[in-house]
Symmetry: C2
Subunit: 485 residues, 2 copies
């Protein structure tokens, strides 16, 4: 049953030709799926029914592939207004259970963000429309296209009556855009059942960093979110009647917030960089290889100048160095106009994005000590209280893990290039939930280009990304099987 | 016609005994006036009718004193919701026009703040109720009591058929608590008519600094209100996706605001103290004489510790030194919760209370130069814009002016003590309007005690303050006449 590299290449060649030959059919299926207004954001019974219909369509599709499909009833959601809405079922499906093969589980979602023509769409959002090789439609790239690409890859092996190189599982939900409200419970319940045989988890719910160069995502930053409250008394003061004799809470708070980060973006909390893992030569090379035009990035983000002038420095400061952002102040005057108030108590909010190997509770201690130092030097009569209200660990995958190696090889074979090895500066909730609950290797394997406009008007997936993406998933199965042998 | 000091004292003695003898009648009139729900804050037709009725009652009262009364129709007010409400008439009245006598105009208002028993009143707010010498009722001290005290003083001379020592004018309005919307127009129109012969303007619409010691108010601070905007782009950023590579507008703004004032309350804008008039020995003595228990003040304001430990320093920093307060930030995250936003543009708001002889436009230049310096040192790619949105000059009266001398003498005679010579840390709009439009000597001559609770539940005026206040106004007429001779 072990195949030689030659026969793998041969297999991939057949599968790729099959995908190529059936691409109109694959595009038609995507069109059928996009036509379902599976919007989970607007809490309307009609839309929830559409999501349920979407889940049923996907279950049918998987059954026709030969998969065993379990449709997990998720019950209902009580809204604050008393309304009760059905939560669309979660689809657990599996195809193959050969203990000799690796088992890879694909996570995807079939719900979408709201869309309406009058929001600025150039085409009907729920009618997949091709213009210059771009398939426009809500959900085309987020996430119906990638889910179908995975199914297309599996279906090619099935249609060709080739042995599927891996055991495949599917975990499909319909509430991702509404916060995946039922996901974590199902993961916990299925951890030792559905997931017990799973070796790898693949999520294809983000984008490349560029328009043409594929990418693999191997890490996210964590986050530690702080509040710092400065209080004189409950009520506010009038600045005419009290200005000049008070230790004003806003003056204290502004000094505290001003002590956190300098104008070059350096965090000023002592010890904060101590555990940040040093940059290796290998990493440096990986960052250099990434396809990013800084000028174009500046234009597209409408930022005149970044803190750093090189691609490498910009990306490292987004992905592998901590950053500190001041979000705002609660309790001060925040409206338009000119109110002469001295706020009596104010709460500053800031957060530090964490990177390996920073530890949230160490950061908490460092931040508290620092702010207490700054505050005590002010000799203020106000009271200060610092809290870390959120502490999410960073995630970084081992890119030497089989599934990363397999994915890189598959990308090299199908796209003829090394992927950009990228991270995400923010926490990706779904990756984090899988990571935390299942403790398995997770890989983010995006198919869409940077300009796909997920969540925006005129969302699209390029035909090329969709079809080559189907091939690259097939190649990935073959490479993973080879590495497993 | 010139009277000797002895006859003045004799006259005052008679007038005082008359007031004393008729005090129940005076309290009854106050009760009648408090019974009118002349609330100008709630824009309801019924309440506006009540204010109009109140203005008519006062006009009748003045006519019965022998005054010439002009009821100035103010037309109607268009509310944003399309409703049209009558603006109560302004009463212009005069009694006496002897060119040999000084002419003093009294400003007062007969509208009140809203009040309802269920807000926490211990008595019916529109039923004047005496408890332990305190006359509780809405408007008792703000401002119906003081208006009646002035009328009582005049009426005593009239009842005793004594020659009124001064020409008296009245300017009474019914929209003060709603922002005196029609006042300025009338002042401008009447500047060279009704006000042409006026020598002194007396306003009795504030409070003493203590419970038992009378006060005269001779100044207010001005105010220069600034906005400082820092902008990267119109939209906000996500701190995960952009944190670490941006010159974040909040970091710039916090640094700018933090450069304005130090922890001891000292303003750090270069040159800001250059024009502040130096403290004279005379002033120092005046501050020392003021009745203020700092411990009690701390307790009543619920402030643990002020920036200064002595009564003199506290009062000087409230009244005769500039202060800088940071009010808040518009455009940042200001709600409860933990939002990971990097605001794209933020507007900081702060103001500097101005004192003699600071000039708002000089302060504007100093603040702009300072913030530009601080900002340029940050080498930020954001844009900064500083605006002074409000520049109100400080006011200080010449306390050697006849009316101040007369009032101090009157207080000494009636209360047996020197008044506290006080200022107000904030702008008093009505004093400022009179000052700006008429350019005449204005004096604030309060009758109410510090604990009268204007605008609060259980507003009151002490019977003692009301009756002795009527006497002190009578004494003031006599002293003013003497000084005029």
């Amino acid at each position: 049953m072990f195949s030689s590299p030659e026969s793998r290449l041969d297999q991939l060649d057949q599968v790729s030709r099959h995908i190529e030959a059936h691409q109109e059919e694959f595009v038609q299926t995507l069109k059928d799926w996009v036509a379902v207004e599976s919007d989970s954001v607007q809490p309307l019974p009609r839309l929830r029914q559409e999501i349920c219909r979407m889940m049923d369509m996907s279950a049918d599709k998987l059954r026709r592939l030969g998969a065993t499909v379990d449709t997990v009833d998720m019950g209902a959601q009580q809204l604050p207004d008393g309304q009760s809405l059905p939560i669309p079922p979660i689809i657990l499906a599996e195809l193959g259970n050969d203990p000799q093969k690796p088992t890879v589980c694909f996570y995807g979602h079939l719900d979408v963000q709201p869309a309406a023509k009058e929001d600025g769409w150039l085409t009907e959002p729920y009618t997949l429309t091709e213009v210059d090789g771009k398939l426009y439609g809500r959900g085309a790239t987020d996430n119906k296209g990638p889910v179908l690409a995975w199914i297309n890859a599996v279906s090619a092996f099935v249609a060709l009556e080739q042995d599927l190189p891996v055991n495949v599982k599917f975990f499909l939900e319909g509430m991702e855009e509404a916060g995946s409200i039922a996901l974590e419970g199902v993961l916990r319940r299925e951890k030792d059942r559905f997931f017990s045989s799973v070796d790898h988890i693949v999520i294809s719910d983000n984008l490349w960093l560029s328009r043409r160069k594929p990418a693999l995502t191997y890490g996210t930053r964590g986050n530690s979110y702080f509040t710092v409250e400065v209080k004189c008394r409950d009520q506010d003061f009038h600045s005419g009647t009290f200005g000049g004799i008070l230790h004003e809470p806003m003056a204290d708070l502004v000094a505290l917030l001003g002590s956190l980060v300098d104008s070059s973006g350096q965090i000023l909390v002592p010890g904060i960089y101590d555990s940040v893992s040093p940059v290796t030569e290998e990493e440096r090379a990986m960052y250099s290889a990434i396809d990013l035009d800084l000028g174009e990035y500046r234009n597209s983000t409408q930022v005149e100048r970044f803190l750093f002038d090189t691609k490498e420095a910009v990306l490292m400061h987004l992905w592998r160095y901590p950053s500190l952002s001041i979000h705002g102040i609660e309790g001060a005057f925040d409206e338009a106009g000119a109110k002469t108030v001295i706020p009596g108590q104010v709460v500053g909010k800031f957060s530090i994005r964490l990177v390996p190997h920073m530890n949230a509770s160490t950061v908490e201690k460092q931040v508290k000590r620092h702010l207490e130092d700054v505050f005590s030097r002010r000799n203020s009569s106000n009271r200060m209280a610092v809290s870390m209200v959120l502490g999410i660990a960073p995630w970084v995958a081992d890119i030497k893990d089989n599934q990363y190696v397999a994915a890189r090889r598959a990308i090299r074979t199908v796209f003829g290039t090394e992927p950009d090895m990228i991270r995400d500066g923010s926490t990706i909730p779904v990756a984090k939930i899988f990571q935390d609950v299942l403790q398995k290797s997770v890989m983010m394997f995006p198919l869409g280009a940077v300009d796909d406009g997920e969540h925006s008007q005129n969302e699209k997936i390029n035909r090329w990304n969709y079809i080559e993406g189907s091939k690259v998933f097939a190649a990935f199965f073959l490479e993973l099987a080879t590495l497993h042998e």
